[in-house]
Amino acid sequence: MTQSVTRRAFLAAGVLTVAGCGGVSTSGTGEEGAVDFLSTQFLPVEERQRFEKILSDHVKSAKVGFNPVDQSAFAATVQAQADANRMQLSLLGGLHGDLAPQRDRLSDLDDLLGGLGDRQFPGELTTLARLGGSTVKYIPWMQATYLLAVNKKALQWLPSGAKVDDLTYDQLLAWATAAKAGNGGKPVFGIPAGAKGLYHRFFQGFLLPSFTGGQITTFRSPEAATAWDYMKQLWAQSAPASTNYDFMQEPLERGEVLIAFDHVARLINAPKSKPDDWLMVPAPRGPKGRGYMLVVAGLAIPKGAPQADKAKEVIKALTTAQVQIEVLRQNAFFPVSKADLPGDLPAPIALEAAGVKAQQGSSGTIVSLPPVGLGTKDGEVGQIFKNCFKEICLDGRPVQGVLDAQAAKLNAILDEVKVPCWAPDPAGAPCKVA
């Protein structure tokens, strides 16, 4: 039934999207002196209300008009106001990929970042915040990532010598194989390969960077072929029903799978009823290191912002440990600044926070980003990775042939958009499969 629920939700969401196309209000509060805050995050109405409460409770320096919109409205609004030289927005909040295309329209924030030394942002985040240039263009706001959720029942089959919070890909395969055999032939590992699942992120941000060190440039390299060969073996030990899973928390909760990879927001409900039965552990590491995808959101100030100084105060408030913890507690986005986690966090969030911290802090990480600057082509690029999975793992086609064919299509899309590469590929312009 849960599968039906997600499909229903997805279809309902489609209807709502269509119904909601009436228009986007970007006027903010309209109050004199208020900071108009345009965001691609916290668009769902409950998240928005909870975040507005956080703003009114913790941001005392200015009145903030929080206005979440979808990504295309965000890009269109910022561009239109900048081009018309009538910037009304004072604060922008978005994922790295939302802010990167606006780079030339954002103020430099080096002085602000310099004054926030006590926040102790991880170095990789402040590097990303330069958007490939020399100056800081946004202040890290919050982050999310993908983890492995493990039901402790599966630990009995963990190969000897393997540590669950420091797995290699080979150990994961051995584990999945042993667990399938031990479970009476029923696989226990799953990935979200359903229609709305985020399994392409597993290939883009975890599997391929761990094996090849890259995401796009190394797409058809011999190392990538090894990675897909590995994936084929892993798929043979995975739950075939994975192609129906959109959110792994559902099959995990039902006990259909015991080990699963997914976005933290899509795992959060799995440990809800029995948190003691669960672990959230970092993704495995491969020959090149531990590839992991970082979903980072940042706060930026557009050039010509009417309330730039107040916006800086808002940024300072939003990066305090107190507010970061509050955002984690309310909206399950993880802190970017140093924040000691209080003991009274809801158990699933505390589990994930530990996993996120362990993954970020582990040695030999290869950070990768969701594709940057692709705009509406993001879906098509993701589909290329999904096609590889379909043709290699489901249809059993020869790996290198599939990679060559899909690389040609990937390059055709990249030729259209002409964007520089994003991490972990070197930022050469324009991005292309070698």
Partner: protein, 267 residues
């Protein structure tokens, strides 16, 4: 000369605004992006989608006509409560196809009614909608579509049957023709116009099968119109989406022309 033109002007205007112009815009959109058609043909989902759609038509339509014709002929014998049967049989016509798909999803899904029932009987459940079981997925879509769309054919055939005078049938009976002979030589030939309408309508609608399959199988059992949806809304590439839509249009036109040709009056 003026008057007829004036009289058809509203419909001309309508057709231009709502059919010809979108069609031209669609063709323009598909051709605008070079390589949209080759993207479509190279896509690993396109040929399976075309195959599934074709297979669906070939399997579904004969079944639907057999069911609808049987039901209509049963009603023609005026059994008791025939009004009630008619009402019951056309209910699916009133159900939206997405709702129908979701109802059938609750039947066929891994922990749905069908598997619960099987388990109650002591059998183990079967993953009907798993990507590994293309055949059972296909059968599920066929059953759901059969349930949902047969009533349309049924209504058309009932209307057609009502237009056939009983005299011919009775005359044939007087001359000693059995039921099957009367059906084959008297009823069906007079039913031909209705059958033709129903065939064209159902084939075009079957080419457009979308919501039921989408709800039941997602992209595990790709169909052509589902692919246009995928390309337009998920992959946000309207050019390839319209390219596939144009294929559906061409197939619809071919099918309609083919039926008209096959069933034309031979004089």
């Amino acid at each position: 000369m003026r008057k007829p033109l004036l009289l058809i002007a509203p419909s001309l205007l309508f057709m231009t605004a709502l059919f010809a112009w979108p069609l031209a815009a669609g063709i323009g959109q598909a051709l605008d992006q070079p390589g949209a058609f080759s993207r479509m043909l190279d896509d690993p989902y396109f040929w399976p989608a075309a195959r599934n759609t074709g297979l669906l038509i070939v399997v579904l339509i004969p079944l639907q006509f057999a069911f609808a014709l049987t039901m209509a002929l049963l009603l023609r014998e005026r059994p008791r409560l025939s009004g009630l049967y008619f009402f019951l049989w056309v209910i699916p016509l009133a159900v939206s196809d997405l709702a129908a798909g979701l109802v059938w999803l609750s039947v066929f899904t891994d922990r749905g009614y069908l598997n619960s029932f099987l388990e109650y009987l002591g059998f183990s459940g079967y993953p009907w909608l798993s990507h590994e079981n293309q055949a059972s997925m296909f059968v599920a879509v066929v059953i759901a579509e059969l349930w949902r769309a047969t009533s349309l054919v049924f209504v058309i055939i009932v209307a057609g049957l009502q237009g056939i005078p009983r005299d011919y049938d009775e005359a044939a009976a007087v001359f000693g023709a059995g039921y099957l002979r009367r059906l084959w030589h008297v009823v069906l030939p007079q039913l031909k116009p209705s059958l033709q309408v129903a065939l064209i309508l159902r084939t075009i609608l079957a080419l457009e099968t979308f919501a039921v399959a989408q709800a039941l199988t997602g992209r595990n059992l790709p169909l052509l119109v589902g692919e246009t949806y995928q390309w337009y809304s998920v992959l946000q590439n309207p050019a390839v989406a319209t390219a596939i839509a144009l294929v559906v249009l061409a197939l619809s036109m071919l099918a309609a022309a083919g039926y008209l040709h096959l069933m034309r009056e031979r004089t």
